[in-house]
């Protein structure tokens, strides 16, 4: 890890108002809007006595990392390759890997910050209880971030141009949001659908976060699904990624 490159990438990230809004603020904003609907603040027996707002906190937590990992990062990385920035870096003693690692750290960090903000606003604004199994919650969250970054790296590896990265990113973006439960939280999905979604990276992440929020250990199946996805996607990305 090259700290000068990382500092530079953090600084550049702060100059992207679009990315800042969609990754850091949008998920929490969505939570606030949903929380402003009175019926979403009532306990619902269909949700095991939880309120809709309770169920949407983990969704908001995942949303930031989906936007960062699948939309923003692949576009930035592909742009760096397209513009020859990675190539220019290749002629210095610092390898272009430093830029890749810095990008992942920036987007991973932003996704985590976005998640923590959603948890905090949920707690303060809508009295959503903080995760009762914090260690398990954090582990699930970190694994979900890694899976999102690996998926983003694959998108970037498969895209020759920034436009392609945008298109492929969006194609993966909507299924990822569905699995995370943006339209219907996993708890409300029909049993079979929930099982299938549970094998996708963000479905597994949603289930793991829900369990940890309720005070249980996230379950090795869901964590295992995340680990396997991360390994597979990382292997695919390093197989196909081109520096120029």
């Amino acid at each position: 890890m090259n700290t000068a490159v990382l500092r530079t990438e953090v600084r550049l990230f702060r100059r992207e108002p679009g990315a800042l809004f969609w990754i850091l603020l949008f998920p929490t904003l969505l939570l606030v809007i949903l929380g402003s609907i009175p019926s979403f603040r009532h306990h619902d027996p269909d949700l095991g006595g939880l309120r809709t707002i309770d169920v949407y906190v983990p969704v908001a937590v995942l949303l930031g990392l989906i936007v960062g990992g699948l939309q923003s990062m692949p576009q930035t990385l592909t742009g760096y390759r397209e513009r020859g920035i990675l190539r220019r870096m290749s002629t210095t003693p610092v390898r272009p890997t430093a830029l890749l690692v810095a990008q992942m750290t920036v987007y991973g960090g932003a996704a985590l910050a976005s998640g923590l903000l959603a948890l905090a606003v949920g707690r303060v604004g809508f009295a959503v209880r903080l995760p009762e199994q914090p260690a398990g919650y954090l582990l699930a969250l970190v694994l979900a971030v890694l899976a999102a970054l690996a998926l983003g790296a694959v998108v970037s590896a498969l895209s020759r141009t920034t436009k392609m990265a945008g298109a492929i990113g969006s194609a993966v973006f909507f299924p990822a949001m569905f699995c995370a439960g943006v339209w219907a939280p996993v708890q409300t999905m029909p049993h079979l659908l929930a099982r299938i979604v549970g094998y996708t990276p963000f479905g597994a992440a949603a289930e793991a976060l829900n369990r940890a929020a309720a005070g249980h250990w996230p379950g090795w199946t869901h964590l295992g699904v995340l680990v396997i996805w991360t390994l597979l996607l990382t292997a695919a990305a390093s197989r196909w990624f081109r520096w120029e």
Partner: protein, 317 residues
């Protein structure tokens, strides 16, 4: 000691040999030019020196090291300015200079460098807002900021105005005066003639000639050019049999002959013998431009002939 050694370098793309057996060596404190028409394989050659490309065959050594296998060590002593590359659009000039300084063990102070390249007023400007010439000057600064022993400059002054071009040439001469070896890819003859100690003319992936600029001019067929408008027509046969004549051209009554000093003397004798006056007589030394065209022309002509023959055969078939 040679700081760059390239021998029998070969590189093909999709079965087409782009670099086809190039050899040369660059000495310490030398400005070595690589000249050639577009697509001659110049950039591919220097990219192999920079370690950006892996040669198919042949040997490349930079300070005795393999630029691919020993990339990190080569990158520490070699500064590069690439033909087509950019930086992050929102990175400012100052941030770029500071960032690249941290990559090297003993970097130069970037402030005087920025000053000499006329970037001081632009330090807080983002890369995306710079003009083409300003971007170019920033890349020259980034190539030098690591205090390298070798600098590879691909199209050094492309996009620079004449003032900035001259300033850049002076900067490169100063860099060389400190013992740095400079490998310069260019298609500006004036630049090559002014800066380079030696030049390799690359054509179709091969070294067509390797010499000093003066040597290249001397060795090219038409070293001296004589032109005039004769007061009366001269006999074509007599013109064509002039000694050491490389070419003769008649354009609306004005004759342009190229050859050597011997040709010039013979022309003057011929004029005197025929009592013909030469109006607007000019005798000039051929430039590197002429030498370049001469060195890279022969093949093209041969090629055209081959093409024509092939075409005819195809037409017959």
């Amino acid at each position: 000691m040679s700081v760059i050694e390239v021998s029998e370098l070969r590189k093909s793309y999709g079965g087409r040999a782009v670099v086809d057996g190039v050899s040369f060596a660059v000495e310490e404190g030398e400005i070595f030019g690589v000249l050639g028409p577009n697509g001659a394989g110049k950039t591919t050659t220097v990219e192999c020196v920079e370690g950006l490309r892996v040669p198919d065959a042949g040997r490349v050594r930079v300070t005795g090291l393999d630029p691919v296998a020993d990339h990190a060590r080569v990158a520490r002593v070699l500064g590069a300015q690439l033909q087509e590359s950019e930086l992050q659009p929102k990175l400012t000039v100052r941030e770029a200079l500071e960032l690249y300084s941290t990559f090297y063990d003993r970097p130069l102070d970037w402030r005087p460098l920025a000053e000499r390249l006329g970037l001081t007023q632009k330090l807080t400007t983002r890369f995306g807002k710079l003009s083409g010439g300003q971007k170019q000057r920033l890349f020259i600064a980034l190539a030098l900021v690591g205090n390298p022993r070798i600098v590879v400059l691909d199209e050094l002054t492309t996009g620079l105005d004449p003032r900035a071009r001259r300033d850049t040439w002076e900067l490169i001469e100063d860099v060389r005066a400190n013992g740095v070896a400079v490998l310069l890819v260019t298609h500006f003859m004036e630049e090559a003639q002014r800066l380079c100690d030696r030049i390799a003319v690359i054509d179709k992936g091969r070294v067509a000639a390797l010499d000093t600029p003066a040597g290249l001019i001397r060795r090219s067929a038409g070293g001296t050019v004589i032109s005039f408008t004769p007061s009366a027509p001269l006999d074509a046969h007599e013109l064509n049999t002039l000694p050491a004549l490389a070419s003769v051209e008649d354009r609306a009554g004005r004759l342009t002959l190229s050859g050597t000093d011997e040709t010039v003397n013979a022309v003057i004798t011929l004029l005197a013998r025929r009592h013909v006056t030469a109006h607007q007589l000019r005798v000039v030394d051929a430039t590197l431009d002429d030498a370049f065209l001469d060195l890279t022309k022969t093949d093209t002509v041969t090629d055209t002939k081959t093409d024509t023959i092939t075409d005819t055969q195809e037409a017959t078939a």
